[in-house]
């Protein structure tokens, strides 16, 4: 579960947040806080509540309970609803669909929020030019949204959000509509903007690679709860639950269910580890990283038989996937296996399991 330390200087502090839609509880009880300047990524499968959380941060939806505070000031609460004054909230949202107003030019789209905020014409023009230059789209100034490409629309959407200089930037899966190459380009672009503006950012995605590369803080969400919260490396190295362990990492790690037999924890008939690791439990799940699995038998190591499924080259090494009794195992090895799909192969496990989890999913220390 999330470990939250609340400090006075938090840029975003979420306390006991609840969101219900009728009878359905999307977010049961969520607390989280990040310091100014951080880049918080909310990651999780679709339907995990990450977009619901973001919409509440943006002030588009009201929480059913709990409180959201920006820079120490409460901006939304279950009791008081949304405190709508955007000056006080001082946050901007980049929509997944970009939501560019089709009847305004690029400059018009960027200028309108400034107009609403009461900027005078000269200040608006200067700022429009500034953000357009920052995103490298000055030439598109007088085009309509329908006349520019998807990647350019994306940049305009970001420019529009940046223009009023919000202290908090919110992103709702902003890269999901771009092709793979543009996505990588925009990823570094967004990180550059984050560094340049210093705005605290909250970024929603279901892509764990985006989460791992961009975040200073990651919150892995599942069914409306924060499964784990912390810096990306910490999550990768010490997953708190089986959900986090199998959600993060490329390829994902392997979970082997084991039962206690005497002094050993066995998977099928193969003893894998001493039963002390399970801390007295009769059943547990052992977590092995792909690089802990090797091809073929090795002296003194437990061996698993599996049915070869596929092999894919990966940064000079080979990712081998095989199935055994309903489980999919992924291994990173040095050589392509001499096997065709469906052939039996043998995996050997090296070292102690990286982590041990209870059958209910939580980590056993």
């Amino acid at each position: 579960m999330a470990s939250v330390q609340t400090e006075a200087g938090d840029a975003i502090r979420i306390t006991n947040l609840v969101k219900k839609f009728g009878d359905f509880t999307a977010i049961p009880d969520l607390s989280l806080s990040v310091p100014p300047g951080s880049f918080l990524v909310l990651v999780g499968p679709s339907g995990c509540g990450k977009s619901t959380l973001l919409r509440m941060l943006a002030g588009l939806d009201e929480p059913s309970g709990g409180e959201i505070a920006f820079m120490g000031k409460t901006v939304s609460s279950g009791a008081g609803g949304v405190i709508a004054d955007p000056k006080m909230r001082n946050a901007g949202l980049v929509f997944q669909s970009y939501a560019l107003w089709p009847h305004m030019t690029v400059a018009g789209n960027i200028g309108w929020p400034l107009k609403v905020a009461g900027w005078d014409r000269a200040a608006r023009d200067t700022r429009i030019e500034e953000v357009l230059t920052m995103l490298g789209i000055l030439a598109l100034r007088d085009r309509y949204p329908a006349e520019i490409s998807g990647g350019q629309q994306q940049r305009v959407a970001i420019a529009r959000t940046l223009a009023p200089k919000p202290a908090i930037l919110l992103f709702d899966e902003p890269l999901s509509n771009l092709d793979a190459k543009l996505r990588i380009e925009m990823r570094s672009e967004l990180m550059r903007i984050h560094r340049a503006t210093g705005a605290t950012s909250v970024y929603v995605t279901h892509d764990q690679v985006e989460a791992m590369t961009m975040a200073t803080h990651v919150a892995v969400m599942n069914q409306g709860r924060v499964e784990q919260f912390g810096p990306p490396r910490g999550l990768l190295e010490r997953p708190a639950t089986t959900f986090v362990a199998t959600f993060l990492g490329t390829p994902p790690g392997n979970l082997l269910p084991v039962t206690r037999r005497g002094d050993n924890l066995v998977h099928g008939d193969v003893p894998l580890a001493p039963s002390a690791l399970a801390r007295g439990r009769d059943a547990a799940q052992l977590f092995y990283r792909p690089e802990q699995i090797g091809l073929g038998r090795a002296e003194g190591r437990p061996v698993l038989r599996a049915e070869f499924a596929e092999a894919a080259p990966m940064a000079g090494r080979v990712m081998v996937t095989a199935a055994t009794g309903g489980l999919r195992l992924s291994a990173i090895v040095d050589q392509f296996p001499d096997a065709r799909p469906g052939d039996p192969i043998e995996f050997s496990l090296s070292g102690a399991p990286d982590a041990v989890f209870a059958m209910t999913g939580e980590r056993i220390e």
């Binding site: 002030g59 955007p86 669909s97 939501a99 009847h103 929020p113 609403v116 309509y144 006349e147």
Partner: protein, 580 residues
């Protein structure tokens, strides 16, 4: 296609063949659409034609023949379009943008008035509001002791009301479609800037739907300007003339040239407005397709106004759909207009002639003229639907296959020309072309054939549109993937193309059928005693004061239209189960 790439000798022949099809298509469409228009123009350039121009535009008669009808036409056009924008805009906003209860039902109900022909609404109005000024039986309200002033019984006010009640649902359909394309994201993005509701409405929502508003205004205006039934039934008795009733009157009394001149002027009037509105929304400001995924719409909470506004929306729908139909049905059953809901009798439907009621006229199902008209109507509907769809499919195919060429552009422009021409003026043009023997052709005036040709030509835009959507549904890769399985052309046609096309073809055919069955303004000039159709017979009865018969026939027309739509829906779900 490989043959043309590899076999060079065939290229030249293929090219000429490829040109031949669009050229012959242009010839056919030209004959159907352009020739009548040129002929009517030429007919007004002969000595009697030029005389007619002077008589209408610059003579002591011209206030009567041209200026007053023009004024009435413009008042109707502008009034109807303003009324439709207000009602259609309000209902569309209510259904799409708010949390009003029963939105789905309201949405369906507001599309219905346009399905009911305008002469049905006009007849229902007459049944309720007629006063005794014109002689004959008085309407429901006067018979029950209310005093109905002349301005409410006859003339421009009732015509305005009837036409607004008819056309507002067209405006509703267009505006609702545009409003639902304003995604929630657009509104939310504006909300994030801190803009208040009115500012979001005027700054974002309204500009985005402006093109739809303009086109709704221009289409309802063109419809009102061209409408014949309502002014003829409610205006003519007090000598309120519009351009279309004037045009009809001129041709009726044999002043063909004057009629032709008025037809040209009517085309010009409606053309000017359509052109202006097109200029207004064309170019880069025509952002019809809104970017982003506009799936979700943001509903404004109405609070305590929910139920009052629901009542307003629901009441409007009831008054414009349920009330006219109920009045027509009741009136076709009640011997006295003052007692719509008592002494019901089936006399006007199946009664034998010679009795006390209705001056001894037999019920409509005993009337051989009417039976003939019923079959004529069905025949006309089916024949025109089939011919239009075949022609439309052929044209659409030719246009898409020759996309980008000059010929294809000419063809599609020609095919959409009838859309700009009021149907009564179009009928006048057909009389100009086929009213006299044309080369080897005998005079077709008054024949069923002429009616079919004119109707098919006038429905061409709808048919081509339907044909295009049919072809658009069948992406070429669908057929190609079937070809890779080794299926022959016939088998592909049967297993792939036909099932995919049938829905569009059916929908198009039914649309044309329904349009024909309830059409009055096109048939009113081309009709003759030998080929009567239902709407025309109803109009004649109404003009002679036999309201119950007219109403009974109108009910019959409504039933046919409804049945056709229901059959079409049933067939569609039967043949395309995956669409459910």
């Amino acid at each position: 296609m490989s043959p043309s790439d590899t076999a060079a000798p065939f290229r030249r022949r293929r090219l000429t063949a490829a040109r031949l099809v669009p050229l012959s298509m242009i010839l056919i469409v030209g004959l159907l659409v352009l020739a009548p228009l040129l002929r009517i123009l030429l007919a007004t350039l002969t000595p009697p034609g030029l005389e007619a121009w002077t008589a209408i535009l610059a003579s002591p008669m011209s206030p009567n023949l041209w200026w007053r009808p023009l004024m009435n036409t413009l008042i109707l056009g502008l009034g109807v379009s303003a009324g439709c924008l207000l009602l259609g805009g309000f209902t569309a906003w209510l259904v799409v943008m708010t949390d009003v209860p029963g939105r789905r039902i309201l949405g369906v109900m507001h599309t219905l008035p346009f399905m009911i022909p305008s002469f049905a609404a006009a007849l229902a109005w007459g049944t309720l509001f007629r006063n005794s000024r014109m002689g004959g039986s008085s309407g429901f309200f006067e018979a029950n002791g209310f005093i109905v002033p002349d301005w409410l019984a006859w003339g421009i006010v009732p015509v305005l009301i009837v036409l607004i009640a008819h056309y507002y649902s067209l405006a509703f359909t267009i505006i609702a479609a545009a409003l639902s394309s304003v995604g929630a994201d657009l509104v939310e993005a504006a909300q994030m800037t801190g803009a208040r509701r009115p500012r979001i409405f005027f700054g974002i929502v309204l500009p985005v739907v402006t093109p739809a508003l303009v086109s709704a205004a221009s289409l309802t205006l063109a419809g009102a300007v061209a409408n014949f039934a309502a002014p003829a039934l409610l205006g003519l008795p007090v000598r309120m003339q519009t351009l279309s009733t004037r045009l009809f009157g001129m041709i009726e009394i044999g002043q063909a040239e004057r009629g032709f001149v008025l037809a040209l002027l009517l085309i010009a009037v409606s053309g000017v407005f359509l052109f202006l509105s097109d200029r207004l929304v064309s170019g880069r400001r025509a952002f019809v397709t809104v970017t982003g995924k506009g799936g979700r719409t943001r509903r404004f909470p109405l609070g305590r106004w929910r139920w009052p506004l629901f009542a307003a929306g629901f009441g409007l729908a009831v008054v414009t759909t349920v009330v006219p139909v109920v009045v027509l049905v009741a009136s076709s059953l009640a011997p006295q207009a003052g007692a719509l809901f008592s002494n019901w009798t089936l006399h006007f439907w199946i009664g034998e002639g010679g009795g006390q009621i209705a001056q001894g006229t037999a019920g409509i199902f005993r009337n051989p003229v009417l039976i003939a008209a019923l079959f004529n109507t069905l025949k006309l509907g089916v024949v025109v639907a089939l011919i239009s769809m075949l022609l439309g499919l052929a044209l659409a195919h030719t246009i898409t296959r020759n996309k980008g060429t000059v010929l294809a552009n000419i063809l599609s422009q020609l095919a959409f020309l009838p859309l700009l021409i009021p149907s009564i003026a179009f009928a006048a043009a057909y009389i100009a072309l086929f009213g006299a023997p044309l080369g080897p052709l005998p005079s077709l005036y008054g024949t069923f054939t002429l009616l079919v040709i004119a109707a098919a030509a006038h429905n061409l835009p709808y048919a081509v549109q339907a044909g295009r959507s049919v072809l658009g549904q069948i992406a070429t890769d669908l057929e190609e993937s079937a070809r890779l399985t080794g299926a022959g052309p016939l088998r592909r046609m049967w297993a792939i193309i036909f099932p995919l096309a049938i829905r569009g073809l059916l929908a198009g055919a039914i649309l044309v059928f329904v349009k024909m069955v309830r059409d009055l303004s096109l048939v009113v000039l081309l009709f003759s005693a030998t080929s009567p159709v239902l709407s025309m017979v109803a109009y004649r009865y109404a003009a002679e004061g036999f309201m119950q018969f007219a109403n009974a026939i109108t009910v019959l027309i409504l039933v046919i239209c409804l049945a056709a739509s229901l059959i079409a829906q049933a067939l569609q779900t039967r043949v395309q189960k995956w669409k459910e």
